[in-house]
């Protein structure tokens, strides 16, 4: 199986791209063949992921495994260096799983205009970009994959989106590009200041700050911060998110929420923290501050929303706030919680967007005030919505809990040298955020699912959950329960890598 070890990552990243080429070659009238090819590709990719999971060495999760390090652009000293460790593996698998489910969900839910070929090709291209970002171990490679997701998402929102799609798509594109342009400048600065000059992430992390003076580190960190924070998105860079989510087609929203937002947070963990530990240390209170502002602000915005999707979008701002709070503590505990939070948020919010899409399909509206009595008309759909709302508000026993609770707990005791008082205040504020989260999610559930059917939809024939929906949702629902009951499944993978990271940072800070 040596063959597999050296090809696994490449397969995981480029199988979808190869599938896209095949999809493009199939004539657009052959809808069935298009769907089957896409499904087969994403399933094969998932199979690679599962095989990686099986062959992963859990005793050394801190080490990069399935490494490939080949020459790529020698002239600029950038290499094709890919690999996964405990930090990337859970996210990579979550991405693969969500993508398969998206393909299944689209089976008979194609958004208008109905052009399956283009839509499926974009999903596959998106998967290449997402998987690549989680595997890249070279800054330039990371940058390419990080940017690669922009194009498909831009088209997905713009072509298949809602009424305001043009504005939303270009806003999404410009915001992200602005961040990543500055991020690229930071990468270049890192390259020129490292010695020997390199774009290699592990080697840069090993140099741990490279003995740069604090002001230089802080400046470089600022560029990366913008790139990643816009993607997360952190308050006040979040304004693209509600628009993009509201206008995007269901699958677009799901992928955006479940995976694309994680790319930003992952960037912090993979690049910003280990390479610039001193700057991360200086910035931590501010990142924490923005994180808790995001938690409260997102929650308050949720309470004011009338559109289901927009509400879930703002809830993402709040949830990503918890994740960033965990990262900002710079502790082993907090970062572990953040990664868990990312996976949990991916599953739960992905589900919520699926549900919002299904509700819209049935009622042709997402206006919360027009909906009601979902439990009467489509009880299964209603209960799944209730279940996901519970998971999202952090009910113990479901996955959402293990993302939020440890993140808050970690704020009680941030890394050495970071003001404890500040972070304890953050912890309290974040706790208030969880109360608000319970408020807006339950209120949404109550208004949408409980009560009587509104007169407008009385007597309307509403389908309960279809088989493609069952197929697409069951694995995610199982995942939410299993991770909630046995969170160690993920902590066991991440812990080694995160411990390494925390040690490295502590060592660099002396």
């Amino acid at each position: 199986m040596d063959w597999f070890d050296s090809w696994a990552v490449t397969l995981a990243v480029f199988l979808p791209a190869a599938g896209m080429v095949i999809v493009l070659a199939i004539p657009k009238t052959q809808e069935r063949a298009l769907k089957l090819t896409t499904l087969a590709t994403t399933l094969a990719t998932l199979a690679v992921g599962i095989a990686m999971l099986a062959r992963f060495d859990y005793d050394r999760t801190g080490l990069l495994q399935f490494q490939v390090n080949k020459s790529w652009i020698d002239v600029i000293h950038s290499r094709y260096h890919m690999g996964v460790d405990g930090i990337s593996l859970p996210l990579l698998l979550m991405t693969m799983l969500i993508t398969v489910m998206c393909v299944i969900y689209t089976w008979d839910h194609f958004p208008d205009p109905r052009t399956p070929k283009a839509f499926l090709a974009l999903i596959l291209l998106l998967e290449t970009g997402m998987n690549g970002t989680f595997c890249a171990q070279d800054l330039i490679l990371f940058f390419i994959f990080f940017e690669l997701v922009l194009l498909p998402m831009f088209f997905m929102i713009g072509v298949w989106g809602g009424p305001n799609r043009e504005y939303a798509s270009i806003k999404f594109f410009l915001f992200t590009l602005f961040g990543s342009a500055l991020m690229l400048l930071s990468f270049l600065a890192l390259f020129f200041l490292s010695s020997p000059q390199t774009f290699d992430i592990p080697r840069l992390a090993h140099q741990g700050g490279m003995g740069l003076v604090a002001s230089t580190q802080n400046l470089i960190f600022a560029g990366m911060f913008l790139g990643f924070a816009i993607k997360v998105p952190m308050f006040p860079f979040h304004t693209w998110l509600p628009d993009a989510h509201t206008e995007a087609p269901t699958v677009g929203s799901v992928l955006l929420a479940a995976v694309l937002l994680k790319l930003g947070a992952y960037g912090f963990i993979r690049i910003a923290l280990p390479i610039l530990p001193q700057a991360a240390h200086d910035w931590a209170p501010w990142i924490g501050l923005l994180a808790v502002i995001g938690i409260i602000y997102g929650a308050l915005c949720c309470l004011a929303q009338r559109d289901m999707k927009r509400l879930i979008a703002f809830s993402s701002v709040a949830h990503m706030g918890f994740i960033m709070l965990g990262i900002a503590t710079l502790t082993n505990f907090g970062i572990n919680a953040a990664i868990f939070g990312m996976v949990a948020h991916g599953l739960i919010t992905g589900m919520l967007f699926f549900l919002a899409g299904s509700v819209q399909e049935r009622y042709e509206t997402r206006e919360i005030s027009r909906l009601g009595g979902l439990l009467v008309q489509a009880p299964r759909l209603g209960w799944i919505l209730g279940f996901c709302a519970m998971a999202s508000l952090g009910l113990p026993g479901l996955a959402g809990f293990w993302g939020e609770f440890p993140a808050m707990l970690s704020a009680y005791d941030p890394a050495a040298g970071i003001s404890q008082i500040t972070f304890r205040v953050y912890m309290v504020v974040a706790a208030i955020g969880t109360v608000l989260a319970a408020g807006y999610l339950l209120w949404m559930f109550q208004r949408v699912a409980m009560g009587k059917v509104k007169s407008e939809f009385e007597g309307a024939h509403v389908h309960d959950v279809h088989w493609p929906e069952w197929l697409a949702w069951t694995p995610l629902l199982i995942g939410i329960v299993v991770l909630g009951i046995y969170p160690n499944l993920i902590f066991r993978i991440t812990d080694g890598a995160v411990t390494n990271l925390a040690h490295g940072m502590a060592r660099a800070l002396g």
Binding site: I144, S169, I170, L174, F192
Partner: protein, 489 residues
């Protein structure tokens, strides 16, 4: 002493000259219906001149002629190859355009090839006079080409504007060159280079450099010397516009590159502020004006002004040693990639105009439904121009940023941030066209589409450009290597 005449080294120029003569003469003998044969002769001639470039590259020795005024080294060869390929693609996009209008056939190719000859001479020119002659050889035929559509007032305006600005810039440049000659006592760049390292340079030398560079700033349509470009681009036949915006512009850049690296390198303080201001102004103003355009060719004109700013930026901050090298590589690589993506974009414009008979951006509405392949290609070229990975444009932008950071001065970092902000602004108008093509309905186009097949020649041009944009985007090492080899130091 009779001059050394290295036939091998001069073979590309000689083959091209012979082709030019044959095209001109053959045109007399062809009847009305066989006129298109001239285009074939021209194409064969251009491809034939590529052969000695390959053999010379394989040989690898640097050949110096005419007392150092004419040098064939890797730098010259790389650019000659580039110019000939650009010429080939220009011929491909011209064939049907020229053949279907009731224009003259032979003269068109005669003029185009003469301009190409100027370009490949420019790549080897290491002497003020040779540079000037090459520049005029590039420019004069294009003055006529810009006015090719005789009965169209816009085309006439294009030619007149271009001619007047061109002559003015040549005059300013010559004035500057005369000072340089007067001070240094030589027209050879190598001698000027030696002079420029002296510690006691008179201020007049800086003025002379300034005037010379301003002359070239007109050629590369750098802000504030760009006023001719949008009108000329819009009025000229589109294949000529493609040639002007890629080849003739690149000719100007090559001249600046040669002057700066072989002639003025010791005197950065004299020319770097000038280039810095030109670069910053070009990208900012070019982009901001492009935002307001409603005609696709004018949009591409302003975009190429902005791209010109990006290409100049590394030179504006090139310091000694390693930074000088990476700036040089950045310019060469950027030119190569810019050539492919801009020619591709113009080829699509020509193909679309065959269907819609319109150059308005609004006529691109719904192209994704009416002509998906063309829309896909156009999206690719535009996103490449915007620098979005994994299309080749990202690498061009990347080497530019890398060179700027290698400069490492506060001025360099400032320019880097300006360039970064500008590349975001640029996305807005590039994506604006893409949005029209994919997010709008064909009914918004406001023009009647006639079904027109894309002719094979145009198809080949599109395929080549698209292949370069995709392959170089994924594996930039190919062009990066050319940039590396080309560095003369």
């Amino acid at each position: 002493m009779s001059p050394v005449f290295d036939y091998h080294a001069l073979a590309p120029e000689l083959i091209l000259t012979a082709t030019i003569v044959v095209v001109l003469v053959a045109d007399f003998f062809f009847g009305e219906r066989e006129r298109f044969q001239t285009s074939r002769i021209a194409t064969v001639g251009v491809l034939a001149s590529l052969v000695p470039i390959l053999t010379l590259a394989a040989d690898g020795t640097t050949r110096t002629m005419f007392g150092g005024a004419y040098v064939v080294d890797d730098y010259a060869l790389a650019l000659k190859g580039f110019f000939l390929l650009v010429a080939y693609i220009t011929l491909l996009v011209s064939v049907d355009y020229i053949g279907e209008g009731d224009y003259y056939q032979g003269e068109y190719y005669f003029l185009l090839l003469s301009s190409v000859l100027g370009l490949i001479v420019m790549a080897s020119a290491r002497d003020l006079i040779t540079i000037f002659v090459a520049l005029e050889l590039i420019s004069v035929p294009t003055y006529v080409l810009a006015g090719w559509r005789k009965h169209d007032t816009k085309s006439n305006e294009a030619a007149i504007k271009y001619y007047l600005f061109g002559v003015l810039s040549s005059a300013v440049m010559l004035y500057g060159m005369s000072f340089i000659f007067g001070l240094s006592g030589s027209t050879l760049l190598s001698k000027i280079g030696q002079y420029a390292t002296r510690p006691d340079l008179p201020p007049l030398f800086a003025v002379a450099i300034f005037l010379t560079l301003v002359g070239f700033a007109f050629k590369i349509s750098a802000v504030p010397f760009h006023f001719w470009a949008p009108d000329t681009y819009e009025g000229a036949p589109t294949p000529v516009t493609a040639f002007l915006s890629v080849a003739s512009k690149a000719g100007g850049f090559v001249a600046i590159l040669s002057l700066v690296y072989f002639g003025f390198f010791g005197t950065q303080t004299a020319w770097q502020p000038v280039l810095w201001a030109l670069a910053a102004a070009s990208m900012t103003l070019g982009n901001l004006t492009a935002l307001r355009q409603t005609n696709i060719v004018r949009l591409l004109a302003y975009s190429s002004i902005a791209q010109g700013g990006f290409i100049l930026a590394p030179l504006a901050v090139a310091a000694d040693g390693n930074a000088a090298r990476s700036a040089f590589e950045a310019v060469v690589i950027y030119l190569l990639i810019y050539g492919a993506m801009n020619l591709g974009a113009f080829a699509v414009v020509i193909a679309v105009a065959r269907r819609t008979r319109s150059g308005e951006i609004s006529s691109y509405s719904g192209l994704g439904q009416t002509a998906p392949l063309l829309a896909l290609l156009m999206s690719g070229f535009l996103f490449s121009l915007a620098g979005i990975p994994p299309l080749a444009g990202w690498f061009a932008k990347f080497v530019m940023f890398r060179a700027i950071f290698n400069g490492g001065t506060p001025a360099a970092y400032t320019l880097g941030v300006i360039a970064a902000v500008n590349s975001v602004i640029a996305l807005f108008y590039y994506a604006g066209v893409v949005r029209r093509m994919w997010f709008r309905d064909p009914s918004e186009a406001g023009v009647e589409q006639v079904p027109a097949r894309t002719p094979p020649a145009l198809g080949i041009a599109l395929t080549i450009s698209a292949a370069v944009v995709v392959v170089i985007g994924i594996y930039p090492q190919l062009f990066a290597r050319i940039g590396e080899v080309a560095f003369p130091g």
